[in-house]
Point group: C2
Chain length 388, copies 2
């Protein structure tokens, strides 16, 4: 539909040739197909969404609002960040229209054609998409061993990156969680090299086992930083609300970029999120959410063992929304997707998560939060059949 | 606050040097000061906002949604556009997080450093800000005579623009409305030269006197186009919802740009706007809105005559939200703003609306929709005192 007739006579920007149709987009367009089991998106379970009421929203909140976000919400976010070690004032908080927006703003702030950005490999594909769009070249951090392979201070051959993008807690797509020592080491490397750190932390509330989740930004002493979080996983994605906090040297720039992008974020959502954050039952709600997802993860892990134990390997993630499967035989998993969808199951091929765009990676990402148990059984059985 | 300590050690993008603190931002940060009369923003009157209830929002709408927007809303928008002469299918409609986002997406699509963009002078300052940020150079269209001075087909000396940005109906800031002949002529010039047209039309519902408001995009036969509208003026800005329709050659690009910017727009707002568009009392609500603003405009015009008749000239706008005052003596109106705010009245200096950044333009923009009658009297009296 959107794809026909795309040979404009118009003269488009050079950067637009770097923006390709994204697999996420194709997937979001099929998730509503009846009967399809989707392990593809990072979709929270609908039954975890809070009941929202906009009845009490003051009429004045329907007016234009401040670019930075509602003062009460920024205050609340700053307090929560400070309590997890990212000490910051409300003035350092910028409310976002979802954390995808934070990636757009940070890319605009740092990335010129040719700019080096250090990223984990694999990493969140829509971050790669945005950085690539603005012309970034990538340096690879190993998500499991961030410093031995490519710490900014030790890597001379390709130059110093302008920015490190990391998703250290229950990473998308691998589910990996940095250890405390790894967090310390990355912080120290950033401070020593003066490279800015962009920590993307949308999954931190979804922790099913003990692990160190304390933000890396809270361990920095000198370098510039951006820490961002999301309300899509802990509340609801349809509200499209996230936030960032940043070092003061970046904050003014980011605020102006936000203003140029959409003036300010949806105030109805800001009001509803503030209500939810202040609700006395919030702790209980989060515990229930985590229990629900832990149960889903455990069920998924058992079903994986039954259906795919002989075909693939994986680690059970301690949090987040994904299993990362490595297939025993070499294959471009993108080539499997159309047939999988024809058979009624969607997954996320692994290749788009790699900055170096490999021909094949023999890995795929499976989301365990959205499908119910019967769907999970059916979907994984279908997938195993296809992979055999 | 956001301004201190802005000498980052980090290496920022080259384009960030083109993004300056915006006057809009400074103004939005003072509008809530008690007692201040603000003629500065383009703020609708709070009393015109509809009563919204999110009670009935289906839980599934809190999930991630399609990048393009909700199908039912796109259908509705396409039908309305077709009824005003912009014949398009629902597939050509993209829901936006406010029409400011449309400017960001279109700039990303067309503007490289050095790209020529033809704009009216003066024009919407936040569009200039975004185009400039991506490195645009400007060609000037005369808002009142768009073709004699700088039609793209007749202007050879500075090269052909990649894009024409126009706000032909109740323009921000001048209030000017193109005649039918001017609309025809601009459409023909675009078709002949193959330059893409970007028509920004947020004020079309706010028409107080008869005039031709039929979109220029509906008169095109060949060239690429983007038409955008907003729900901020006819419903409520806090919902942050707008839309664009575009020729099919651009639509796929714009959709991917939207996805990279924020995945999709707020679904709660989409649900509420769809409810409002489908409501049987919608026509009555719009009539009341227009009557309210017409009354405010007329009151403002009379008050202007009383207080500023000897100091300035203006045309009474036939729609929209602004009076554009030309002062009889030469002055940089930016220099007046701090003292005006100290005396309790805010206005919008004229200079930032000009692409060529003049030293002084002796013009200022006054919004008449937000202040009540007593505030208008007091504010204009204060302003007259200051200008004398």
């Amino acid at each position: 539909m959107a794809q026909r007739a795309e040979q404009p006579g118009s003269r488009l920007s050079r950067r637009i040739t770097n923006l390709h149709a994204s697999p996420i987009r194709e997937i979001l367009s099929v998730i509503d197909r009846p009967g399809l089991v989707s392990f593809a998106g990072g979709l929270p379970a609908n039954e975890t969404f809070p009941t929202l009421s906009a009845q009490a929203v003051p009429r004045s909140w329907l007016q234009y609002g401040p670019t930075e976000g509602e003062p009460a919400l920024r205050e609340r976010i700053a307090a929560e960040l400070s309590s997890i070690g990212v000490s910051c004032t409300p003035e350092q908080v910028l409310v976002l229209s979802g954390s995808q927006q934070g990636i757009d703003l940070v890319a605009k702030l740092f990335v010129d054609p040719g700019t080096l950005v250090a990223v984990e490999s694999p990493t969140y594909l829509a971050a790669l998409q945005v950085f690539r769009f603005f012309g970034a070249r990538f340096l690879t951090l190993d998500a499991c061993r961030p410093l031995t392979s490519a710490s900014p201070s030790r890597r001379g051959r390709s130059g110093r990156p302008a920015l490190i993008y990391t998703n250290p807690t229950f990473q998308n797509p691998t589910g990996h969680c940095y250890s405390g020592a790894e967090r310390d080491a990355l912080a120290q490397a950033c401070d020593e090299s003066g490279v800015a750190l962009f920590e993307d932390d949308p999954y931190r509330d979804l922790a099913y086992d003990d692990c160190d989740r304390s933000p890396i930004c809270g361990r920095l002493h000198r370098t510039s930083w951006i820490y961002q979080g999301s309300f899509s996983k802990s509340l609801a994605p349809g509200l499209r609300l996230g936030f960032l906090a940043a070092s003061m040297d970046l904050l003014g720039h980011l605020t102006r970029l936000k203003q140029a992008a959409d003036l300010h974020s949806n105030r109805l959502s800001q009001w509803l999120v503030l209500e939810q954050l202040s609700a006395s039952e919030r702790g209980d709600r989060l515990s229930r959410l985590v229990s629900t997802y832990r149960r889903k993860r455990d069920f998924f892990a058992r079903a994986l063992g039954r259906h795919l134990g002989s075909i693939a390997t994986w680690e059970t993630p301690r949090g987040g929304l994904f299993f990362w499967l490595k297939l025993r035989r070499q294959i471009d998993t993108r080539s499997l997707l159309p047939e999988a969808i024809r058979r009624g199951v969607a997954f996320m091929p692994g290749e788009p998560f790699f900055p170096e765009s490999p021909k094949s990676c023999s890995a795929l990402r499976l989301n365990f939060s959205h499908a119910d148990e019967a769907q999970t059984e059916r979907g994984l059985a279908t997938l195993a059949e296809l992979l055999r």
